[in-house]
Symmetry: C2
Subunit: 313 residues, 2 copies
Amino acid sequence: MDNSSSTISLASVKTYLLDLHASIIAAIEKIDGQSFVRDAWERPAVEGGSVHGSGLSCILEEGNVMERAGIGFSHVRGDHLPPSAAAHHPESAGCPWEAMGVSLVFHPRNPYIPTVHMNVRFFHITNKENQPVWWFGGGMDLTPYYGFEEDARHFHQTCHAALTPFGADLYPRFKQWCDQYFFLKHRQEARGIGGIFFDDFNAPGFANSFAMMQSVGDHFLAAYLPIVERRKDMAYGERERDFQAYRRGRYVEFNLVVDRGTLFGLQSGGRTESILMSMPPIAKWRYDWQAPAGSAEAKLTSDFLPPREWIQP
Amino acid sequence: MDNSSSTISLASVKTYLLDLHASIIAAIEKIDGQSFVRDAWERPAVEGGSVHGSGLSCILEEGNVMERAGIGFSHVRGDHLPPSAAAHHPESAGCPWEAMGVSLVFHPRNPYIPTVHMNVRFFHITNKENQPVWWFGGGMDLTPYYGFEEDARHFHQTCHAALTPFGADLYPRFKQWCDQYFFLKHRQEARGIGGIFFDDFNAPGFANSFAMMQSVGDHFLAAYLPIVERRKDMAYGERERDFQAYRRGRYVEFNLVVDRGTLFGLQSGGRTESILMSMPPIAKWRYDWQAPAGSAEAKLTSDFLPPREWIQP
């Protein structure tokens, strides 16, 4: 592992993330016809304060295609890494750290368009020997309400294409990691059809690791937009909207019960409205509801949620 | 503390809880006009299985008054108390235990009727010296969407009346405990206007402790039904329904992020549909939404959610 400080440039990671943030916003505004509201925030450093930094939370609500689409950039730092954030690097607990990333969840209105999540992030610690410890993390995953095999294959193929230049082993590893992470244990059910997930990535050195994360970010629109285009004009009715709202209840359960990032953010005093941009605009719960046998709604659970190999090796 | 086994009767606690469960159901069915669906469940004891028992989950959805009302009885036991459940009794971790209780959350359709929660429970451990360790817990609290001082006063007065025969100190203690417990730290906001909450209650001995818990259970309908009667025919429109759905998002956040009972249940492999009977039928999220200044919606946050003394001493 090349962890030498000479090759690390936080400024270039930040520049990349801000450009990615802007380009995704521009593409979604073009397809939607409405604009994101841009909410820049700053958390000043205060005496004894643990975390400070700034961010840009952008949200498009009640759009033509997007019912609630949130994308945020944030750059925060602290003087003492909390032990809970240093699980994989216990020797760095208490050291100065900074983190930056782009995170998005898009909830389209049309139930035939899947909800999507993407995140790319960089973490940097200055350890007790004054040496840098750093890694990249991120991924993207798709949560359909109605399953379409061509959409699932396209999404996974694009994830595969993003990773393959950096090693043939990455896609299978990150695909499995994603299936394991986005799983509701209390439902014994996957959140969606998966994608890729990675963390603590630094083995090939800074330049290669950064390039890999960039490739994931750069492939997001190619993975998602063709699916939006294909589904956005499909007709739907109350039945499909109702099922979408019911399934979005599972999304809420995942984010609030399972997701470590959300829980850590809320518990550590993060900016609540920014963290909860991932919540759907509307969600429903209904006791022990079962989709009619053989219905499209039943097929989601039987054919799409159990982890599958979506691309042929 | 009178913890002698001679005075403890699990059978009489169970009989009381089942009667309470039935009487609340009967009263709600009478005011609603529709019936609860009764779902009896059993979790058999299996080799190496941690928790077994049975329960009765009852739910009324899409009623005339209730949009989603869930009330459950459960009686579960295990051979080895998990350490996470033995926080206040670390010496009893690993010992045989059983727990029984009635828990309810009622979400009415009319936004002028508050959501209500009530719970009474009994916990019993046989410790390493083969001696019983036991306590009662429970409480009730009210979550209005539109604040009415007379409703808040009535609810708290009834809580006060339930507790006063068992000591003048109980209401103030349990009222404060409730304000502290039903608080969303990540919102810096109370869930509702509170009520009473207690746990680990056994100081006056079994008979008195049991009588106190019975008094709480027995006062529930007197605390809630007059409010339902007063509000159920008030006219409302889309604005009020929308605000109700938005506020119900906070209820979801509390139950999934903060509530120890829900989290413990989901994480320990409890029955998910029974645990999540507390979820509202529908919830909404909207970025950084603020009620118009001076509106009834703004008054909820400014005048009702900050903890107040609702009854004069």
